[in-house]
């Protein structure tokens, strides 16, 4: 094992964007007070800026006089494999890359983006957690990190006709929209396919699906492997181009959505010839524009609803008003807001691939307790989320702590309330 690939990646990634932010840090530690993993465990090494330490050291020692001086005087040691091994536990097992720390930083440093770079450096050294490596290999082999290979998708897509009488629109050239699901939905939310078909057909949208772009999941983004990220995203990009669609709709995947919308243009060095959207944005807009009709107050049924802001779709995706518009319409005054919402939303504890790392279970469930406290405070017995990974974590967490709280997705709610 060698530190070289890590250093090369850090150097490649260190432009003015990274360097100026590293230079701006005053090491005030305020970011820790926003990090769910630090707050839940009290472990100082979980402070977000400490997770950036390998990158800071590599940058200073390579590019600054003071960094070189520190090494020469023995005040600071050069980065080693042992360091990366230690930071692998911190950056992968106690971070969902949720970005809440960036909002707390008085200097406005995009700490979570810097953490993502550190994670990429650790992966380059071959020190990423085994659980994530396994999922990455699985996705490269069969297209999905959860072992949902092509035959599973064929069965799922075929079942659309049985359930709805409508044939799955496979590879329709000139369609308006390419819909990209995730393998989490095949596994746990198969109805999303049928519900979304009902909505899109009612809205008169010419949509398509494709076996070549079947999973929005991108293990390259999660683990920090640029090659894998490019290869997986490239399948969707090329399919969308080949079919000539005007937009890509990502159903419930959070990181898959931001990867396609925000990362892919820069990874491929081109502006996308189509628009990338998410159901959290599309469905409320379809209601607003009158393209589909829902029964107002359909979910005013004695339950109290609250909305979980997902880190990728809401904080990092910016889609915060739209799902609230739909929920206020559907649940009326039984929809209540938690304390930490919108840009300041609290992570469920299950993002950034942490659910695939068994060693991180304790941290993950400890971080969830903070979310649980907010859900209980608002008195909600139904939590709505637009991210399938968050939904799984919420379900898992409520079950773990024996709480009778239901978790719902926006697709199923809109489909059910349609008239």
């Amino acid at each position: 094992m060698s530190i070289e690939p890590t250093m090369n990646l850090f150097v490649k990634k260190t432009g003015g964007w990274v360097a100026s932010q590293l230079e701006a840090c005053t090491r005030c530690g305020m970011c820790a007070e926003a990090c769910p993993y630090y707050l839940a465990t009290g472990k100082a090494e979980y402070a977000p800026i400490w997770k950036v330490e390998p990158l800071r050291r590599a940058y200073e020692q390579r590019f600054t006089l003071i960094g070189k001086l520190k090494v020469a005087l023995g005040v600071e040691k050069a980065l080693t494999d042992a360091d990366l091994k230690a930071w692998s536990k911190v950056d992968f097992e106690a971070c969902s890359v949720c970005g809440k720390c960036s909002g707390a930083c008085p200097m406005g440093i995009e700490i979570s983006s810097l953490i993502a770079t550190v994670r990429a450096g650790i992966t380059a050294a071959g020190l990423a957690p085994a659980g994530l490596v396994e999922k990455t290999e699985m996705q490269m082999k069969c297209g999905s990190p959860n072992g949902m290979c092509e035959d599973e998708y064929i069965k799922w897509f075929d079942s659309l006709e049985e359930k709805t009488g409508v044939k799955a629109p496979l590879d329709v050239k000139g369609a308006d929209m390419l819909v990209v699901y995730t393998s989490l939905e095949i596994k746990d939310k198969r109805h999303n396919l049928y519900d979304l078909a009902k909505i899109l057909n009612a809205a008169g949208i010419k949509w398509t699906i494709s076996m070549d772009a079947r999973d929005a999941f991108n293990m390259g983004s999660i683990i920090g492997n640029p090659k894998v990220q490019k290869e997986l995203a490239g399948k969707i990009l090329n399919t969308a181009k080949k079919l000539g669609v005007k937009q890509i709709l990502v159903t419930e995947c959070g990181h898959g959505f931001t990867t396609l919308r925000d990362a892919v243009p820069n990874v491929f060095g081109e502006e996308l010839p189509f628009f990338v959207t998410h159901i959290a944005e599309l469905l409320p807009n379809l209601i607003k524009e009158g393209k589909i009709k829902v029964k107002e107050g359909y979910f005013k049924n004695g339950h109290t609803y609250t909305f979980h802001d997902s880190c990728k779709i809401q904080r990092q995706g910016g889609i915060m008003d739209e799902p609230r518009y739909a929920l206020k319409l559907l649940a009326g005054d039984t929809f209540k807001e938690m304390d930490s919402i919108r840009e300041n939303g609290l992570c469920c504890g299950g993002g950034g691939g942490i659910r695939s790392i068994p060693e991180a279970n304790e941290n993950r469930l400890a971080a969830f307790k903070l979310k649980l406290a907010e859900v209980e405070k608002v008195g909600a017995d139904v939590v709505v989320s637009t991210c399938d990974n968050c939904q799984l974590q919420l379900k898992d967490g409520f079950k773990h702590y024996n709480k009778a709280v239901e978790v719902k997705g926006l697709i199923e709610m809109v489909a059910e309330a349609m008239i």
Binding site: G42, A47, L65, M107
Partner: protein, 225 residues
Amino acid sequence: MNTQTMLELARGPIFYGALLFFIAGMLYRLVTVISLGWNKDLAKPRGDKATGVVKSFLRGGIIFPFFPREKAAYARNPIVYIAGGLFHLSLFIVVILGAAHMLVWKSLIGFGWPTLPLPIVDWMAAVGIIAMVALIVNRMVHPVMKLLTGVAEVLNWLFVFLPMITGYMMTHHMFLPYENLFVLHMMSINVLLVWIPLSRISHFMFYFFSRTIHGVEWGKRNAMP
């Protein structure tokens, strides 16, 4: 060498040498960071980046001290927030709006500005000193800040604190003859000027980068920075 000669050196050639080092050092830091290159963001923005930048600075520089974005986070470590804010306010009032310092600026850049009455400046200097003591105690006690603190962070604190305490002692004629305190004050400023380009105290320059980046990133998603 008598005190008068030492003072003349400290406020004369040594000061101008340190100032030159400071300017050259900061320019070097600026150029090296900028020359590392900047990639163009090709992703279609969902919101306006420029609006995001304006909001970022409004929040970061004006509203932020009174209404922090992550209120709960700031409530958990209020010393950083309160003492840090008071220290920066004190620094601005004493170094910019204090009559003695304004005259130094005037001698350097050729023009001056109205200043605050001495008692206000004096009180704010005391507030700044107390805030600095609170900050270093907090840094030594808080588990996260302890972890983040190395020799450089302690030196940063020390080199900022020395001009503050010697300036205050000088104004109040405390403990040592005025001339001696003046020499100590000037020498501590000279050390600080040399130290800034070598340290994170230079964050005042990179603050403008990080808050701009923050504004662009949050603005393009149409989110509040």
